[in-house]
Amino acid sequence: MSVLIDIILAILAIYLAFQSLLAKRLTQTVFIFFAFGLALALAWVRLGAIDVAITEAAIAAGFMGVLFLDALRDFSPRTSNNQEKTEAAKDIFSKKNTKSLLLPRVALVLGLVLFLLISLEAIWNIPDGGGLTVSVETMLPESGVEHPVTAVLLNFRAYDTWLEIGVILLGLLAIFATGGIKLYLKPDVPAQDILLRQVILFFTPILFLFGAFLLYIGKSGPGGAFQAGVLWAAIGILLHLGGKPVFSMIPRWLGQLLLTLGLGFFLLLGFILMAGGATLFEYPPAYAGVLILIVETLAAISIAAALTAIFANLNQMQEKPNDIESTT
């Protein structure tokens, strides 16, 4: 009976994915994409992956959502003149290429359908590998935390998690590399909006406390550094939108320290313990719990800082539309 929920949810998710790509307008695409994120989060819940559901809710729906909404400001036609120009260009393009594009497209769609059928068959017949549940269960007491997912993330496969924190920092660096950005720029529009200010005042402590709660509960239940990091990043994003960009209010070195703290401490701790004869990311079982909590906290701070900076940069990209000379 409960399978009915899954079937409807699955159909809904597929439909939403389809529609978000087929939609004619960009706003439509983005809003349907939000709904898709929600459907996916419900699917995680149905599959018992609460950690993933929280991450999806936080990162995919919250953070990506606000990034896409922010991007919508950009991709709307700026001036009618410009719009006409692009429209005309598109017209020529489509007229000229309709026929030559049709055949490859049909072939592509057929290929995709074939691919889908094979993949469905492959997934249907998948042998039961058994997973790693048993090994995790036996090793869990030595990991220093009670929640298996946290144990895997920060102890058994800490290397992946460390690289992943690096990837977030890298994402920020990569956005710098696209150029045209001044991180310490003040946005032009301060929040005159009383409502906005009230919302920020009210939600900042809530976001902070709930993030801390998720971080702390990660030891024994679903939650952890990433989820907490995104919630804290939401504070930074709210402040930025309210005309108080965090990175322009703190000294430069502090900003850099916040950004690199998680990655650096994680690694330095590993190196220090390595000097004592352990392998990288090996924690003595007696202290593992405490060390993991410290690492998680610093990682959450760094993730929050990096995500805030990513948003701030993307947000400011639009503020200076005329600053287009390239760096060369």
Partner: protein
């Protein structure tokens, strides 16, 4: 697992560059470059030490966190990984030296790009992590690190064309890694392990495995610009800054090839058929012809070099059909395996040196001329003797004329082809070489031609020219330690092994 030596070097090889990259973020423009350069030298030194360690003790491992696979992740540095890491270090350190000078050259230079240094160090860490990794999912994370770094470096120049090319590259890279990850999900679902060594033992042939192999190969082909998916490579490589182009084509695309080689040889042996090998070989053959032809047709130097990368990567794919044995043939009786492997490894190394030198020289020409249209290359020899020499030497290695590393690779490839009886690949190798000779000699002819007007060449720093020349020479010098290197590769690792097709597994052998 315990009979292999545990060593701290694998962990340091990944950790140190990341630490230095993080450190360099705290400095401003000049400081960043200084820390970055020091970091590159340190990392290269560490790589050499690690290489020696492997040469002395054989394969070394590092079990991260002390958790043995399948639960944890193990880093493993065997001779194959050591050779790739050593190559990255040697090529990387020269490119770093070049970049240091190149960005500091005032008026004619492109300006300072402080972000180059942390990104390049992260890229280096990612490459080292990829060569060392022994875990399917960890490989995904490292290819994502490499992908993001590579695209970020590619768009660093800030040109509009670079942005378009970068976005195309990034979308291709994300698509490729997602396809790869889909295969990983299926493999994990059907075996419950991610460790390459264990997977090689437990993987069963079946629809799921075959499909997983298909999507993984698709993903990696996209990432390494294998033939039908090469569309992103030429614009991205040609629009980047000179040191970045060199990094991208010398090192980055080799990462995906390395994974492909490892997975085909070590993991998916059970579901690979003779026909699959032929198919990959065919993609490689088309890439050789198509890429060389496209290179021949271009009119700007960097585009020629970028298209030539597509062709040279095609040669790498052409070793796959040789490594997969027809049904009924055993690995012991197949005497072409060793030449084929030698061809692959030498092609990787020779191409890395030659292509890095080529791109660095192209950067110098742009610095001197302000553009890279080939008709302005007249009298290059008279104005930039060393650069012309570097281009000539690198070109000779790309064509595969003796005594270059490229010659060794192509010779061994032909030897393998004839020993295995798969003669139909031979014309492709020869035609590829001819076409390559076509565009290289076209460049050289222009370089030697007398100038029409005088004084268009601005002077460029000598040191930069010398770095490019050293790299070009490197593609010749690698021939000398060839015997030692083959011996070293044969001591451990998968080098020299082949896949024996299972007859009942549906192989379509034709002999």
């Amino acid at each position: 697992m315990t009979d292999l030596l545990t060593s701290p070097y694998p962990a340091l090889l990944v950790g140190l560059p990341v630490l230095l990259a993080t450190l360099s973020l705290f400095f401003r423009t000049r400081g960043k470059a200084l820390v970055g350069l020091l970091g590159c030298l340190l990392t290269a030194g560490l790589a050499i030490v690690a290489f020696i360690e492997v040469a002395q003790h054989g394969t070394v491992i590092h079990i991260l966190g002390g958790w043995e696979p399948p639960l944890g992740i193990m880093l493993r540095m065997d001779s194959l990984a050591a050779v790739f890491i050593g190559m990255t270090a040697v090529v990387g350190v020269f490119i770093s030296l070049y970049a240091w000078q190149y960005f500091r050259a005032d008026e004619s230079g492109p300006g300072e790009f402080p972000l180059f240094w942390p990104l390049w160090l992260f890229l280096w860490a990612g490459l080292n992590g990829l060569f060392l990794s022994n875990d399917l999912f960890n490989l995904f994370v490292t290819i994502e690190v490499i992908g993001i770094c590579a695209v970020a470096l590619a768009v660093l120049s800030g040109k509009t064309t670079a942005m378009f090319a970068g976005l195309r590259y990034l979308l291709a890279a994300i698509t490729g890694s997602m396809a790869y990850l889909f295969g990983v999900a299926l493999i994990y679902g059907s075996t419950g392990t991610l460790d390459l060594g264990l997977l090689g033992q437990v993987l069963e042939p079946g629809t799921t495995t075959t499909f997983a192999l298909l999507v993984i190969t698709f993903g990696l082909m996209v990432k390494m610009a294998g033939f039908p998916f090469h569309f992103w490579l030429p614009p991205a490589h040609s629009a980047a800054l000179a040191p970045v182009s060199a990094l991208l084509s010398a090192l980055v695309v080799k990462g995906a090839f390395y994974i492909l080689l490892r997975l085909w040889m070590e993991v998916f042996g059970v579901s690979i058929t003779y026909a699959a090998g032929q198919l990959i070989g065919l993609a490689g053959a088309i890439a050789v012809i198509w890429g060389s032809w496209q290179a021949f047709m271009q009119t700007s130097l960097k585009l020629i070099v970028a298209h030539s990368s597509v062709a040279q990567l095609g040669y790498l794919l052409m070793i796959f059909p040789l490594l997969i044995l027809a049904p009924g043939v055993t690995a012991d009786s197949a005497d072409w395996l060793s030449p084929a492997w030698t061809a692959g490894i030498f092609q990787v190394i020779a191409h890395a040196f030659a292509k890095a030198s080529f791109f660095l020289s192209a950067g110098l020409i742009i610095m001197a001329l302000g553009h890279d249209r080939i008709e302005s290359l007249r009298d290059l020899v008279g104005n930039m003797r060393i650069t012309a020499m570097a281009i000539g030497l690198a070109g000779v290695s790309l064509i595969g004329l003796p005594p270059s590393g490229g010659f060794m690779a192509k010779w061994m490839l032909l030897k393998g082809i004839f020993l295995s009886g798969q003669w139909w690949w031979a014309p492709v190798v020869l035609a590829g070489s001819l076409l390559t000779a076509g565009y290289v000699f076209m460049l050289l002819r222009l370089a030697f031609a007398p100038a029409r007007e005088m004084g268009t060449f601005k002077p460029v720093p000598k040191s930069l020219e010398i770095v490019a020349l050293i790299l070009a020479l490197g593609s010749f010098l690698i021939v000398f330690p060839a015997d030692y290197m083959i011996q070293f590769l044969e001591s451990t690792g998968v080098f020299g092994s082949g896949i024996e097709s299972i007859v009942e597994g549906g192989a379509y052998g034709n002999d």
